[in-house]
Structure formats: structure tokens, C-alpha cells
Symmetry: C2
Subunit: 351 residues, 2 copies
């Protein structure tokens, strides 16, 4: 049997250390990056996959298209500010936007657990359709699977997306340069804390609502304004800390950010402290960072703030030369420390 050749290759993750897949392997931190790098990239090796971008840009029929996929396994299915259906649209639309693409088409594949109330499924589907309409994308192909009770969890949704790249900029984690400015499109940590508050039954003065939202309009406005964008990355699993470390690694630069410039809401701060979490590690679902050429930083900020969901945008740091990839955080009292990638799973199943 020809498969033997491949099966004979030994597993590239050290089995003695990790005999089984852990929740942390899906958490957006160091373990997930190891799994993706050593297993998936090693097996599927090709230059397009290795760009490791939120969406992969391909030349097809003489045009540039972006292609991406994401599964949504968030729990609970409904939470303040969103649900699994709207997230499944926003998340994939945002991944496309991170390559500067205009999102056009989505697929929708459902893995439903036997026994899911039919009305729950209908609510999710309606929410997806509303989100798709708001984003100007069409769901044009789909799949439905049902698994036995106890072998799934309500409903998992996968959406893959196709977008059209209508610009000539090279937007990728590898293209960040010393001098670039780092901008964030709004306040951090609300999605993760909205989910955790529901799960832990926490009561705050006002409910923390997820920031789940499409960001494509902000990105398209930046492109239209002719901003020289070097990299875009949405701040999902692993949060800001993970995104910055990935970029520093890919471009081999130092990224220095200032704590006092990073927008985090008071109630989110309080909730994070209560749960012992760092807001810079917590996932958003409607926020991204833009790394743009030094000359364009101020203009980029104005453009971002001019878009509805970008009203809370801020410049949070700058890129510098470095002998080794590094992310540093300057605290409110002026002390700098290294901002590491989170190691594992802080908040399971938030997306």
C-alpha cells in the first residue's frame, strides 16, 4: 500500500511530550503555532501556504484572488453582541480583508449535533444571512452533516471565502519594515470577555458586548486613500500579543508598543483582572492592526477613524530594526518589558 511510505515518516510533534492533542493546540498561542508549523506546513508544504497569511492570495486566470477558511466552534452559540452565525460570516470576511481583498463569495458547511432544536438552527441561519447581506457577500455553496448526539456540540460552522484583490500593494507579515507605524482599529478584548462573562455567569454594571463586526470597509478605505500598507492582521485567538509576535517573527523586526496608547475599556480591564487575564492576549472579532509606512501613519489614523467601526482607532507603536524578532511593551510608568506570545489556551472555544 503506497500510504506506507508516508506513514513511515515519524510524527513531527514529539510524541513523548505531546502524545495527544490538547485544547491548547487550538488556542492561538505557542502550541498552536508549533502544531501548524511542524505538522500542517510540513506535510502540505507549498509556497502559497507558507505565506501564513489570514487569507492566501493566488493568481488565477490572470487575476488576484484571496482564499481563506475558518471553522467556528464558539460556545455558547449566542452571546451578547453576536452568535456563531454572524461570527462565521464576519470572521471569514475579515480574513479576506486582511489581504486587502474585497470579499465576494462564501461557502457554508454545517456540522450539526443530532438533537439541536430546529429553531436554534433557524436563528443561526438567519443571523448568517443578515451578516452576509451587511457585508455584501453571497453564500453560494454549502454542506450539511449531522453527527450523533454527544459527538458534536450544537452546531459547528465552517465558512470558506473568496475575495478579489484589486490593488498592487504587497500586504503580508513578511513586508513590515523598521519605521512602520502600528495602528489598531478599536478597543481590545471585548469578544473574549463577553463570552467568558456568559460562561462564568459574571455580572457587570452593563453587559460587555462582543466586538464581532466586519472590518472590510476600513481596509478598503485605507486602500482607496493610497495608504502604503505593509501588513494587516485581525486580532482573534491569541489577541494582540500573538499577532505582533507572528509579524515580528516573519519580518525579523522589533515592534515596540505603548500600553497607554492601547484602547481597552474600563469594564473589560476590570473583567480581565477578575479572571487573571491579560487584555493583550484576549481575542477580538472585529479588530485588526495595520502596519503602515512611517509617512502615512497620521493619514491612516484619520481614514480609520472616519469609518464607523474604526472610530476608536489608535496609533499604538512603531517598528524598529533588531538582530532578533522581538515585541516590547512600554508600561504606563515607562518601563519596557518583552510581550511574549501566549503559550497555550487561555480561553477555549471563543471562536
Amino acid at each position: 500500500m503506497e500510504q506506507n511510505d508516508h506513514f513511515a515518516l515519524s510524527c513531527p510533534i514529539p510524541i513523548s511530550q505531546y502524545p495527544h492533542v490538547l485544547l491548547a493546540h487550538g488556542g492561538g498561542g505557542r502550541l498552536m503555532h508549533q502544531l501548524i508549523g511542524k505538522m500542517f506546513l510540513a506535510a502540505f508544504r507549498n509556497p502559497l501556504l507558507e505565506t501564513q497569511h489570514d487569507a492566501t492570495v493566488v493568481e488565477l486566470a490572470g487575476k488576484k484572488l484571496a482564499f481563506t477558511t475558518d471553522s467556528y466552534v464558539v460556545r455558547p452559540l449566542f452571546f451578547p453582541g453576536g452568535d456563531v452565525g454572524s461570527m462565521a460570516v464576519h470572521g471569514t470576511v475579515n480574513d479576506l480583508a486582511m489581504s486587502g481583498a474585497r470579499p465576494v463569495y462564501l461557502s457554508a458547511a454545517f456540522i450539526i449535533e443530532e438533537g439541536l432544536p430546529m429553531e436554534t438552527l433557524w436563528k443561526v441561519v438567519c443571523s448568517m444571512q443578515q451578516a452576509a447581506q451587511r457585508c455584501g457577500v453571497q453564500i453560494i455553496t454549502g454542506d450539511t452533516k449531522v453527527v450523533d448526539k454527544g459527538k458534536g456540540d450544537g452546531v459547528f460552522i465552517n465558512t470558506a471565502g473568496i475575495g478579489v484583490v484589486e490593488h498592487d500593494q504587497k500586504i503580508a507579515p513578511q513586508n513590515v519594515r523598521p519605521g512602520d507605524g502600528v495602528l489598531v482599529s478599536g478597543d481590545l478584548g471585548r469578544h473574549g470577555m463577553a463570552i467568558m462573562a456568559v460562561r462564568e455567569g459574571l455580572q457587570f454594571e452593563s453587559a460587555i458586548e462582543s466586538d464581532s463586526a466586519p472590518v472590510q470597509d476600513i481596509v478598503l478605505a485605507l486602500l482607496k486613500a493610497g495608504i502604503e500598507i505593509h501588513c494587516l492582521r485581525d486580532l482573534t485567538r491569541g489577541g494582540l500579543a500573538s499577532a505582533l509576535n507572528e509579524i515580528a517573527e516573519a519580518s525579523r523586526v522589533r515592534i515596540g508598543i505603548e500600553e497607554k496608547s492601547i484602547p481597552v475599556r474600563e469594564d473589560v480591564h476590570a473583567a480581565c483582572e477578575m479572571l487573571g487575564l491579560d487584555p493583550l492576549h484576549v481575542a477580538c472579532e472585529g479588530r485588526f492592526i495595520a502596519l503602515v509606512a512611517a509617512k502615512d501613519v497620521e493619514r491612516a489614523l484619520l481614514v480609520m477613524r472616519g469609518q464607523g467601526t474604526g472610530a476608536g482607532s489608535a496609533v499604538i507603536g512603531r517598528v524598529a530594526e533588531s538582530s532578533a524578532p522581538l515585541v516590547t511593551l512600554k508600561s504606563a510608568i515607562g518601563v519596557s518589558r518583552i510581550l511574549d506570545m501566549p503559550s497555550g489556551e487561555q480561553l477555549p472555544r471563543i471562536c
Copy 2:
């Protein structure tokens, strides 16, 4: 909250009859078609989705592309003749081929259950890569989620696919015409019975191996030979009976097939009888039907038989005019009966 408008619409599946999703809603039969038609098509309504083809063909940047998605939840993960990894490639490649597209790119999204042995995941990933190589497609984007133990089942894989349509034929279930010939690309029922044999612990003289295989070469050969193809459909969930009923419905024709022309292996027949199953309802993972213009039937058969995986191809029936959509089966002793769509789930989780 704007979602209220949509949530106010009542669920289009009668809740009194189906308060919960059943395994049968994913089984490829009548219940699944009702769920897709009344819920998904109703909510996501657009002309592209409504083609209800295995892959949807879009014009993008002046070129025709095919786009499709499928999740693979087969149990067990490894079975005679294949595994979830190779299936996840073949299945999606085949869906693209059913629109006459040349498959080019795949995405790969994993939903892993916490506790899956790392070596099992590696075997699945290696098998995917081998299958992708054999099919000439690249896996260029991916996603990894891990769900808590008891909330998944080993690993579920979603692959979405993009193909290039390089011909001008209109291949769709709606385009079948009276006089068309019906061809099948090989013997039926092996995939479903291979899975069932493992699950039920059945012993046969020789193991029944799944027919899981890519069929794109056969389709591309038909196109190259200039065969006038009206419809292609792969015979997965619901088997031949489901596929023919879908086509008869879409084109409003009668399709008459002859039992004695339909290739089914002796051991598969025997296994089906033992389990009380009809081979015409059992899923394949490497077989399809082609409905071609009357003038091209004999030539199409030669082309199909000339390709490795199409060696067992056969002409099994013909399309006729009808006042209502209908599929009829003429038995070996010459008696005709209506071949209905299977109602629900015969074989859960075979794909």
C-alpha cells in the same frame, strides 16, 4: 436589535413534526433535501446557490471558477481503501469535477477533539497530502480548532475547493433532456459497505474496499473528447437513487434505468442483503453518473472506460419526456417500478 426582524420569521421546518435535528437530516435523503430547500436555500436565497450543483460556477474577473465545500465526519477515521484524510481531498475534488472544472486549490480546516492521539492526526494529514499530490491540487489555506473531549469525535475535516472551468458546456441538473443517455463510472456501493462492514464487524471472504478515488481525469477526458455533457453528479450520500431523483426533479423528466446494466459486485450485493440495504441507496466516494446527449453515448462510454478509475463504466439508462419528474427501474425480469429517493438516514456518518 436588528436581528429581531429575522428571528421573528418562523422556522420554515414544521416544529411540531421535527422539533429537533435528526441524524436523517444529514443522510442524503428526503429529510436532508427538505432541510436544505426550506431552511438554507430559503434564508441564503440567491441564483448561484439555487443551481444546487455539487460545485457552484461563478464568473470572477472574466473567468469561470467553480467553488465548493464539504465536511467529512466519517467514522471510523480509517477503513479498508481509505481514511478521512484522503476522502476529504477526493470528495471535494470530485465535487469540482462535477461542474467540469479542473480542481486547483483546496482549503483544509480541522476540528479536532481534545485527546486525539497526535500520531493519528499525523497519519490523516499525510494521507491528505498524498491524495492532494495525486489529484494535482494544492492545499493553500487552513484552520485548526480543538474542542473539548466529548464535544467532537476524533477529527472532522472541512475542505473547500476552487477549480477552473475551461469549457463552454452548460453542465447542470437542469440541463438534462429527453433522449440523453445515463452512464455510471463503475460499480456501486463499495464505500458504504466497506464502512458498514468495519462498524458491524462483518467478515466477508475478502474485505470490501472503499471506492474512494478522484474522478477528475475521467471528466476532463470526456470534455477533451468533445462529448456533449448535460449533467454530472457524484454518487455520495443517498447513492444512485438520490442523484437520479434530484436530476429528474430539476429537469422535469423521466429517467429509466435497467437493473441488469448497473454494475454491483457480488460481495457488495451479499453484504447489502445481509444488512437489508439497497445498493442503489448506498454511497460511493469515487463514482459518478454522466448524462450525455444521445448522439454521444457510445463514444462517452469508450472514453470513460479508457481511464483507469473508469474501467468499469456502463450505460445504465435513458431519459424520456414526462409530465412529472420520475425515476423508474426495470428489474432483471422486466418489471418496472418507481425508484424513490431514500427517505432518511440509512447509513449515518459514512462521509
